[in-house]
């Protein structure tokens, strides 16, 4: 049994392995990108660097969902909304950084506002030209929305499928709202044409590398944070709420507070993932709120394996790599593949990839050790 503090969560074996593999892969990619010339076989292109950064943002998002779904049993089908809100907050900052380099050359108004004949900046666009303020928004907006939404939902004891449906409705409603030009977030074109972040050009290779490293660090910190949460007594209560909520209530826990706590933390993590994602892909539009995105996210976690944390990360990377390859080969079939994958995983691997490996690990280990035994005995002979 673990009684985690932040320190033990940082130093335990799983966290060390996870962070080790994550940083080793990141470092390798960065070194191959920086040291080898473009025509070398060992060169990693900037495209791949950005792709990796994107995957890590998805992994962070999946981690956030695993915290609420895997551990607390709240199947949120609207987690993409928090991701997109974090992304929009970052997008607003990046828009203001463009300054007079936009198409219309207006020093304060972003291009789409000039195009819509707006005369001045809406009040909610003030302040986002400061990075610290944008960073605050990235944490606060998804967190606050999750807090209010969760407070209403959990207090009224909305659970199970009904909760999933209203989270789905939440993200759909936000998508429709953000499609409107009047809302002041660029309508269906969203925010794009970003130039630089904290003074670094987004087109520069070094910035892309920096963003990849930032994503890796964010994922590592979030992983340790989640390990800490799930290993603490709070984590055990949350698991108890998932398995026997009414019992937890009769033991004296305000289960709605615990759910709200986890839901809000998870939304904040999702917002951070979105904020790191936007400068790497260079655009944020209302499509990110689409219910389909949130459902895809659930598939990543299901494929990787719930309630393990690293399973969600693996799932996100594997499925997205598959998507990258698959959409290159036959783009129209991807949705069928995704749907099929979900069905297959649910029917044949309810514990996901990590579950399959864990179940077969003793057998695998036995076979491996037998092989090495044979080799050593052969060597002796």
């Amino acid at each position: 049994m673990r009684h985690s503090t932040f320190k033990t969560a940082l130093t335990d074996r799983t966290a060390r392995h996870f962070i080790g593999v994550l940083f080793a892969a990141t470092l390798l990619a960065v070194l191959c990108n920086q040291l080898f010339p473009a025509d070398s076989a060992l060169h990693v292109s900037s495209y791949t660097i950005t792709l990796m950064g994107k995957y890590l943002c998805y992994a962070l998002l999946a981690l956030a969902l695993d915290l609420v779904w895997g551990y607390c049993g709240i199947l949120s089908l609207g987690h993409g909304a928090f991701f997109a809100l974090g992304g929009y907050a970052m997008g607003m900052y990046l828009m203001r950084q463009i300054g007079d380099r936009g198409v219309y050359g207006n020093p304060t108004l972003p291009d789409f506002m000039v195009f819509l004949n707006w005369k001045e900046l809406p009040w909610y666009w003030h302040g986002v030209d400061h990075f610290w303020f944008a960073a605050l928004l990235i944490l606060l907006v998804p967190g606050l929305l999750a807090f209010v939404f969760g407070w209403l939902a959990f207090r009224s004891r909305v659970t199970g499928v009904y909760l999933s449906i209203i989270t789905q409705a939440l993200t759909y409603a936000l998508m429709l709202a953000f499609f409107r030009n009047e809302l002041g977030f660029g309508g269906n074109n969203g925010l794009t044409d970003f130039k630089d972040l904290l003074g670094f050009s987004l087109q520069a290779d070094s910035t892309r590398v920096g963003l990849l490293i930032a994503s890796a660090v964010a994922l590592a910190v979030a992983f340790v944070l989640c390990r800490w949460i799930t290993g603490s007594k709070l984590g055990r209560v949350v698991l108890a709420v998932r398995d026997a909520e009414s019992r937890a209530r009769f033991v004296g826990y305000r289960t709605e507070h615990y759910k709200l706590w986890v839901f809000t933390v998870s939304a904040i993590l999702a917002g951070i993932a979105g904020a790191l994602y936007v400068p790497q892909v260079g655009i944020i539009n209302p499509g990110e709120f689409s219910p389909l995105n949130s459902i895809e996210l659930v598939v990543w976690v299901a494929v990787g394996g719930r309630a393990t944390l690293y399973g969600a990360v693996i799932g996100a990377i594997v499925v997205n790599y598959g998507k990258t390859v698959f959409t290159g080969l036959m783009p129209e079939a991807w949705l069928f593949a995704l749907g099929g994958l979900f069905v297959l995983v649910t029917v044949f691997m309810p514990q996901g990839l990590t579950g399959v490996v864990q179940q077969n690990w003793p057998k695998l280990k036995a076979r491996l050790s037998r092989n090495t035994d044979q080799e050593t005995s052969n060597d002796c002979a």
Partner: protein, 279 residues
Amino acid sequence: MTALDSLRETFRRDQVFDFMRQGTRPVLPGQVDAGKNILYLEDITVSFDGFKALNDLTLYIKTGELRCIIGPNGAGKSTMMDVITGKTRPDSGTCFFGQTLDLTRMSETDIATAGIGRKFQKPTVFPEHTAFENLELAMNAPKGAWHSLFSQLSGEQRDWIEQTLATVGLLDDRDKVAGLLSHGQKQWLEIGMVLMQKPQLLLVDEPIAGMTRQEVERTGELLKSLAGEHSVVVVEHDMEFIRSIASTVTVLHQGSVLAEGTMQQVQNDPKVIEVYLGE
């Protein structure tokens, strides 16, 4: 109701305002002010779609007593437990824990924290947690989310959990996942969890279902040893078991009390015989 009526209702001369009453009885929130009786159920009626599960039930539990409640199926035993623990709200009637805590207005969590522990009919433990963790979660300790994040078990708490594990005979299975325990062990684990809450009133719903003979005996002894320090209410079907533990027995029938007294008295009561054996 007209405005005048509601004004009169507000200023009734035979009653004082709630805030004034609290001034005369200095009771800390959540603290039970138990006198002779610990639980007062008066004129409780609960109906589901017209069916009266409880019908003007009036029942008092003395402080420190071990009370057995029997009755045929559908007599309202479990509904009564639900009303006490806040799971079901009565249509009418009052339900007080001690002199001051109105249970009909408190949430399940508040009632549990105030000192009423409940063992369900179907054993409900946390299946993915070990026996030790089950008790840890049930422990009488601050239950806030932030507090839980930083909380670490102290040595005393660990000892206390181990003591309780020994009391319910699960010391050897402390690290076993609760879902894998046998039915009887789960029942005991749940009793242990209720004990960890340090309740003043224990509600125990069918504690010996699925237990072997020895286990039944030990459970009886355990329940008897708890009375005195705690008040215990046991709902059971097994007459022999009740005879072995009970001092006072209450018979419920169609949602109200049919008879009350010692086992001897109750068994010889003609109304009880009629209900149990038919005419």
